[in-house]
C-alpha cells in the first residue's frame, strides 16, 4: 500500500482551514466592537469538524470518493450582558477567543508538521 497524503494528514488540514476562517469571523467581531446593532458571530467548529471526521471515515470504506468539503454555519453569539446599543460583541471575551483560536491554529500547524516530518522520515527510510 502506497503512502496516501490526504489519508495521512487526516482531519488536520480541515482544522487549519476552519481556524483561519474562524479567525476572520472573530476579527470581524473585534472590528465592529463599537458599531451599534452589530450581532457578533462565531463558528460551531466542533460540529463542523465532526462532520468532516465522519465523512473522512466513510470515505475510507469506499475507494475513489472525493475529498469531503468543509461545511459549517455561522451562529450568532448570545451575550453575557446585553448592551444598550444592541451590539453583542464583548471586547474582553472576544479577544480571549481570538487568542485561543490562534493557539488552536498553532496546534493544528504543529500536528501537520509532525505528520509531514514523519512521512519524510518514512520516505528517506531512516
Amino acid at each position: 500500500m502506497g503512502i496516501s497524503f490526504d489519508k495521512a494528514f487526516g482531519v488536520h488540514p480541515y482544522a487549519l482551514q476552519l481556524r483561519v476562517e474562524r479567525s476572520q469571523i472573530l476579527a470581524g467581531n473585534l472590528a465592529n466592537v463599537d458599531t451599534p446593532g452589530y450581532l457578533a458571530r462565531d463558528v460551531d467548529y466542533q460540529s463542523a469538524l465532526r462532520d468532516v471526521q465522519s465523512s473522512l471515515e466513510g470515505r475510507a470504506v469506499q475507494a475513489g470518493a472525493s475529498m469531503p468539503s468543509l461545511d459549517y454555519e455561522t451562529l450568532y453569539r448570545v451575550p453575557l450582558q446585553p448592551s444598550e446599543d444592541g451590539n453583542t460583541t464583548e471586547l474582553g471575551a472576544e479577544q480571549a477567543r481570538f487568542a485561543g483560536n490562534a493557539m488552536d491554529f498553532q496546534t493544528s500547524l504543529t500536528f501537520l508538521n509532525m505528520k509531514i516530518s514523519g512521512l519524510a522520515q518514512a520516505i528517506r527510510g531512516e
Binding site: Q24, L30, D34, T35, F98
Partner: protein, 140 residues
Amino acid sequence: MSFNRIYDIAGSAMRAQTVRLDTVASNLANADAVAGSEGAAYRAIKPVFQTVYQRVEDAGGLGAATVDVAGVVQSNRNVERRYEPDNPLADGNGNVFYSNVNTVDEMADMMAASRGFETAVSVMNRIGSMQQGLLRLGQS
C-alpha cells in the same frame, strides 16, 4: 485561505477608530470655543459606525464584517449660554454661547477609540505570526 480578508477587517477598524479619534481631538480643541450667536456655537461631532459585509459566497452566508464610517453627525445637546457682557463676542444682550462639548464624555470616547485601535493592531500582529507559521509548514 483568507488571511488577506482579515487584514482588510483590521484595517477598516483602524481607519474607523482614527476618524473617531479625529472627532474627539476636534471636540476637545473646541471645548471652550465661544461664539456670538447660538447658531454659530461649536457643537460636538460624532462618527456613526456601520458594518459592511463583504461578498457572501465565503464564510457560509455572511462574509467578512468590516466596519465603515457612515457619516459624522453633530450633537443636538443644548449649547451653553453665559452672560459675559465684557466679552468682545457678546451679543446685544451681553450673552455669549459656549460649545456643547462634554469633556468627560470625550475623554471616555478617546480611551475606547484607542483601545479599539490597539485591538486591531494586535489582531494584525497575530494574523501575521499565524501566516508566517503556515509559510514554514513542513520545514522543521
